[in-house]
Homo-oligomer: 408 residues x 2
């Protein structure tokens, strides 16, 4: 595997991890923009815009875009988060340039008013659909409660109100401001011809105008508020607990991942043995989400309404025990094996490497090989984890729950 | 990649595709037994037995099994179908032997009576859960309707009645009869030491007694019955259409996969353009399922009850058109790219190769490399597909639908 990179004169960075032995190639545009870069007035525009890119360009109809992907057999997707909008695909090596060229076209969309009006209904239905999924809604709402006025609390989807009021003109303005070439990275992995990709990008993207794309950055420790909402139609209690954690720029993110695995992996974690295995909770998992200058640890727990209080007591007991005694060597060893095996297996496919490669560059302007990541995970000691527990006290959390009226 | 294989004196076959450059290793036991090998009296025992293997052995408790997997960081799983029960894992290379040894232990389970009684409730709840999923239930019930008295019509999960009446003694009898070493294959892929795996298998499995493990084999063209069931709680119409297709032993299975992709892939297929893109159906997909001596093409379509008749008319129109005019070069080229890219990308991970390697041996006692499969797909011509359409008439289908009372 060989790392290569270059920057076009307008600021578009192209990074590649070339592996000519790979059976496929993967490429993607990583645009450094998301709901945290929106004002509340236009909340949801990043995600809506992601949909609009597939509606075509001045030269391509949506139908032609669909057929162009289809004819290559590409596995492609797009996604929007609080701070990134990414467009990526994996294809057979002979289609890498064709699909890369297609992305360069889509990244300069037509944003037609009639497409905008039709897609607005799709987005509104998507918001309604997610609102109907309590396991999703409880985490999303908890995030807003946790972040209070910090922009990372902005919902990715926006609300029915903000999407309803959004105009195509506002979207176009946002697009030209945030989709500047100096605010994005073109990443590619696997069996690709770097020079050919660079020549293509030079030809297709060098006329894109750079711009000023600021982002408000600050760490935030969380509101620590506790709220519960009643939903008559639910039969289960859904609980989200969120506490502060390190950012994507912080080297301690590897240790933070290990801590989340020790506390709340699907199997064999503290949560698992204390709640899931004895059937006190149906599911209980902790995740680490590291972002630009800020991070969170969040837990999602689902149980019967009768067990809600017991679940919160057990969770607090686990946090107290961690604060008092820290983690053990045995726990850390198991967590390392889990993270190393997931990391290693994912990295066997160019598509799996792409996300690492792209985000490493977006956040740290660094290349890290799989071996670098493996070494970083292996180097973590119990004392590193315990120092994190001391600095980021798990007990200082925000909590949001939804469940039926019968619970109190 | 190097193919290796050996057979122990009791008939246990070990096959391997060794790739020392891979970052992980994968291994699995492929047991040639499933619901088609059950009598109706014990229907569901194969799937129930799969659960019981994780309850431990005479030496290992369920807790110890759980912890043993957990400590290696293995990604592991198991699954039961009409004719196979498989147990597999992907791990870092240094844990391949440890996890293989664990599987050899689990393949000789304790089958304790009290574990059996507790797990019976879990299985019963699983049956109820799947019955509540109309998209699953409609396909499962259509399969039973299609296969009539053919054993491939047996439900994998069994019914609340058969599971309720099943005894631990019946399960033990089934286990000793079907889990004979000459009725299973141990497959491994990726960064593994073949000689070490064979030595381990020799030590751990050579005392397993071989047995006579017959299976009733016959092709079946389907009942062609049409039925609809009313479910008051549904708001959508769920339709399954099933027609005969080639078996796993038939070289034409590659052409049959291409036909299913042309007709009913998620995007860009005939179904997609005729029903999903114009929003007449919410989803419409065709799959090809090839089994031992028999196969089916089945479609799942979901739509509003008002559109049900229209959907059936459109589907029949597509089948008529295919029978009259066949497929086009353009369609075939796109379908090849889709299948080749999925096949190639999946095969980049040892875990992805494992399933191909194991099933190829179970069904055909042959090794096929990725290059063999790619060549087979590339060699298919329009005339091959059209010959299949002529022989396996899509219009001679079984249909099962469920939906609300308001539709007729």
């Amino acid at each position: 595997m060989e790392f290569k990179h270059t920057t076009l004169s307008n600021g578009l960075v192209i990074v590649a991890e070339v592996n000519t032995a790979a059976l496929s190639g993967a490429m993607g545009f990583f645009v450094r923009t998301g709901s945290r870069d929106e004002t509340l007035e236009i909340n949801g525009v990043s995600h809506f815009l992601e949909h609009m890119l597939f509606k075509g360009t001045d030269e391509l109809t949506a139908l032609e875009v669909n057929k162009a992907f289809d004819s290559t057999g590409a596995k492609f997707n797009a996604g929007t988060s609080e701070e990134n909008t990414i467009y990526y695909a994996a294809v057979l090596p002979e289609y890498v340039l064709e699909v890369t060229e297609l992305w360069t076209k889509l990244l300069r969309p037509a944003l037609r008013g009639d497409d905008f009006d039709i897609e607005k209904n799709v987005i509104t239905e998507e918001i309604a659909m997610y609102k109907d999924m309590p396991q999703w809604d409880v985490v999303d709402t908890c995030k807003t409660l946790h972040f209070a006025d910090h922009p990372c609390g902005h919902s990715v989807l926006g609300t029915v109100e903000t999407i309803g009021a959004l105009t195509a003109e506002q979207m176009r303005e946002y697009f030209y401001r945030r989709y500047a070439p100096n605010n994005m990275v073109l990443a590619c992995c696997g069996n690709i011809d770097f020079d050919a990709v660079c020549a293509l990008a030079e030809k297709k993207c060098s006329a894109w105008a750079p711009g000023d794309t600021p982002r408000t950055l600050s760490f935030f420790g969380g509101s620590r508020e506790k709220q519960r909402q009643t939903r008559e139609n639910l039969v289960r209690e859904h609980i989200c607990i969120m506490s502060p954690a390190v950012s994507m720029q912080d080297e301690r993110r590897y240790a933070m991942s290990l801590l989340a695995t020790i506390v709340g992996d699907d199997t064999g974690s503290r949560y698992f043995w204390a709640m899931v295995d004895p059937a006190i909770a149906e599911t209980a998992a902790m995740q680490f989400d590291s972002m630009d200058s800020v991070g969170v640890l969040y837990s999602y727990i689902r149980c019967s309404p009768e067990n809600a209080k017991r679940v919160l007591d057990i969770t607090r007991g686990i946090f107290d025990d961690l604060a008092d005694k820290g983690v053990t060597e045995g726990e850390l060893g198991k967590a390392k094996n889990k993270i190393l095996s997931a990391l290693t297996i994912r990295s066997e496919q160019p598509m799996g490497r792409l996300v690492n490669l792209g985000f490493n560059w977006v956040y740290t302007q660094q290349y890290r090989s799989v071996a670098d990541d493996v070494a970083a995970v292996k180097a973590i000691a119990v004392a590193d984890i315990n120092a994190l527990i001391a600095e980021f006290d798990l007990r200082e959390f925000t909590r949001f729950s939804i469940g039926p009226a019968s619970a109190d």
